[in-house]
């Protein structure tokens, strides 16, 4: 059924595109297209190309050695660690929050939704400062933490906390509208058929949201690896210890070590490109499964 309707649709849209009645004169179309392309190349393609040309300006060997530098490697390691902790945690938080909001009615629901959006509303620098105020030496728990010889601020736990805070909304925001649209009929049907809560989650809910969930995870991961502001406040910029990749790029740049700065930046840019490709694949799958269910 979907095959027939899509071919019909594409035939229809091809006809519409050719129809003179609905399109502008040739020169208007070309003017608009070239303006867009010019804008895109100035603000998107050129900077991207600049990152790679600057990174490779002093030759491939310099590029490799800049990446193989101990501090650069440790910054990459720290970035990966922060993402590896933040992404799974936010996946669990996000699914739990979206499940509660989309499938149940309770008091304070709108407050919960607002709280989930808070990290989007607050500047990342403030987010970092919040943790300094709570866990810093002068902060609420500072004394207690230092008595027990625990370090949060200017250490890895602080970086992970800041990353979790900043990336918290992505999964939940992605899932809430999807789960609301799907309703709770299928879960209720499974319940009547005798399924337990876990069985419903694993066999019904998660398979239904898998593409939306994956999309949320990709966005979370991209932001977790690229976050600068919040992490910058809590990290303390200790080279080789508490520097993530974005922070390391800044340090190198401030030291006029352009080749190395752009080399590390190129890794982040590559990461972004990979994310975009993954995102398009997931979007394509999600659209396909949405089309399939739309025929209800």
């Amino acid at each position: 059924m979907s095959g027939i309707s899509t071919t019909q649709f594409s035939k229809y849209s091809a006809k519409v595109a050719k129809s003179r009645a609905t399109s502008e004169p040739v020169w208007v179309r070309w003017a608009l297209i070239s303006t867009t392309l010019l804008f895109l190349s100035l603000f998107l393609f050129m900077p991207l190309a600049a990152v790679f040309t600057e990174a490779l300006r002093k030759g491939f060997d310099t590029y490799i050695s800049a990446l193989a530098d101990a501090d650069a490697l440790s910054s990459m390691k720290l970035t990966v660690i922060a993402a590896l902790i933040a992404v799974p945690l936010n996946l669990v938080f996000g699914v739990a929050a979206a499940w509660a909001i989309a499938k149940f009615e309770f008091k304070g629901k709108s407050i919960l939704i607002t709280l989930i959006d808070l990290p989007f509303a607050v500047s990342p620098v403030i987010a970092g400062l919040i943790y300094v105020l709570i866990f810093g030496l002068q902060g609420w728990f500072g004394q207690w933490l230092s008595d027990h010889d625990l370090k949060v601020i200017f250490a890895i736990p602080g970086i992970v906390l800041a990353t979790i805070f900043v990336t918290f909304p992505f999964v939940a925001r992605e899932l809430i509208p999807l789960m609301q649209a799907q309703g709770k009929d299928e879960e209720e049907a499974a319940l009547v058929l005798g399924a337990s809560g876990w069985q419903i989650l694993w066999r019904i809910t998660l398979p239904n949201i898998k593409w939306g969930l994956l999309y949320g995870v990709i966005l979370t991961n991209a932001r977790a690896m690229g976050e600068f502001g919040a992490v910058s406040v809590v990290s303390g910029h200790i080279r080789g210890l508490t520097n993530t990749m974005p922070l390391h790029v800044e340090i190198l740049y401030n030291e006029y070590n352009y080749a190395a700065a752009f080399a590390v930046a190129s890794v982040l840019a590559l990461l972004a490109l990979v994310t975009l490709v993954l995102k398009s694949i997931v979007e394509w799958h999600a659209a396909r499964s949405a089309r399939a269910t739309e025929q209800n």
Binding site: S2, D185, A189, A190, V192, L193, A195, N296
Partner: protein
């Protein structure tokens, strides 16, 4: 298994969805909960299933109080209005779901599950669709699969929420006959919710007419249609003409004519509402002796279908009266729009005015 519903109350905020509803569903019967949207019929069905909890009152399955029982343990089959098939599973896996999620001790073997599922798919005559996914099926096919899935767990009670509501008219008619036959084969106690009076009258053994959270009347289709207990039921089942009337010594006075009431419809004297069904009206061109009749003018004639519908206006009044004649009777009379005729009510039913809610 019989179902007894005792004094169920349920509020949603300020809104009273069910107000002291009591009801018995005898074992093996097919019962329809009939009413307009918002009358509480779906809420009642969900309370029987255990998907909602009542504020007060109790539900008994075969004499045993099940009010506090978990949905999973009630052994009910539930069919949803929009099918609620698991969209990422094949038809086979949908039907097998209820068996696969059982704890290990009671779960049938894979070959047994396979046998049972195919048996059910044959029962709903869709065995050839086992490997398809729900989005690839038509509405009627989906609803039959939903029914097979509900039957897979061998429920003691089958509950259907507007099972044919989302289907087009022709499929709906086919499916409800099929449901009736299936019920005659399986004899499983069933309750279905509908707002379609025709559907309820055709399929059910017993009809429960609901209005604003309470039960108006319970009875067989013949009982509720022929002897409506309240003006509401009279209005809801079929077309009806309503008149202001006065009851005096066993006679209903409507305007300046009076009609003798039948023995089972005696009312105390006083103001009342009188109801006459369109097919209980005869039309004559000339006055027929002393029999009481209304004088009226024919406004419109709708002659399509087996019955001819006349829209008549009482002389000197605003009221419109609807009458239905057979095609033969209509031809015999040779009526035309604008013509003046006499209307003879064959059967009138009155309800005292203070009881009226319609």
């Amino acid at each position: 298994m019989s179902i007894e519903i005792r004094n169920i109350k349920k509020n949603f905020g300020q809104f009273s969805a069910l107000n002291n509803v009591s009801l018995d569903v005898p074992s093996g019967e097919l019962v329809a909960l009939l009413g307009p949207s918002g009358c509480g019929k779906t809420t009642l069905l969900r309370i029987i299933a255990g998907l909602e909890a009542p504020d007060s009152g109790s539900i008994h399955f075969h004499g045993k109080d099940t009010t506090e029982r978990d949905v999973r343990e009630r052994q009910v089959g539930f069919v949803f209005q929009h099918y609620a098939l698991f969209r990422h599973m094949t038809v086979f896996e949908n039907v097998a779901f209820g068996l696969r999620v059982r704890p290990k001790e009671t779960r049938p073997s894979d070959t047994e599950i396979k046998r049972r599922v195919h048996e059910l798919l044959e029962l709903v005559q869709l065995d050839w669709l086992a490997d398809r996914y729900p989005p690839q099926l038509s509405g009627g096919q989906r609803q039959r699969i939903a029914l097979a899935r509900a039957l897979a767990v061998e429920p003691k009670v089958l509950l259907l929420d507007e099972p044919f509501g989302a289907l087009d008219a022709k499929v709906r008619k086919e499916l409800r006959r099929w449901l009736r036959r299936l019920h005659d084969e399986l004899h499983i106690t069933s309750v279905f919710v509908t707002h379609d009076q025709e559907e309820a009258l055709e399929v059910a053994d017993r009809i429960v007419v609901m209005n604003r959270g309470h039960v108006e009347q319970i009875g067989t289709p013949q009982e509720v249609y022929n002897n409506p207990a309240t003006p509401y039921v009279y209005n809801f089942l079929g077309n009806v003409n309503q008149f202001k009337s006065n009851v005096l010594e066993g006679q209903a006075q409507i305007g300046d004519i009076s009609i003798k009431l039948q023995a089972e419809n005696q009312q105390a004297d006083g103001a009342a509402l009188a109801y006459i069904r369109p097919h209980d009206i005869d039309v004559q061109k000339t006055k027929n002796g002393n029999t009481p009749a209304f004088e009226a003018k024919i406004n419109y004639i709708h002659a399509v279908g087996p019955l001819v519908r006349l829209e008549l206006q009482q002389l000197g009044k605003e009221d419109i009266i609807e009458a239905e004649l057979t095609q033969e009777r209509f031809r015999e009379l040779g009526l035309n729009t604008g013509e003046q005729v006499f209307i003879y009510p064959r059967n009138v039913r009155v309800f005292l005015d203070n009881a009226s809610q319609a």
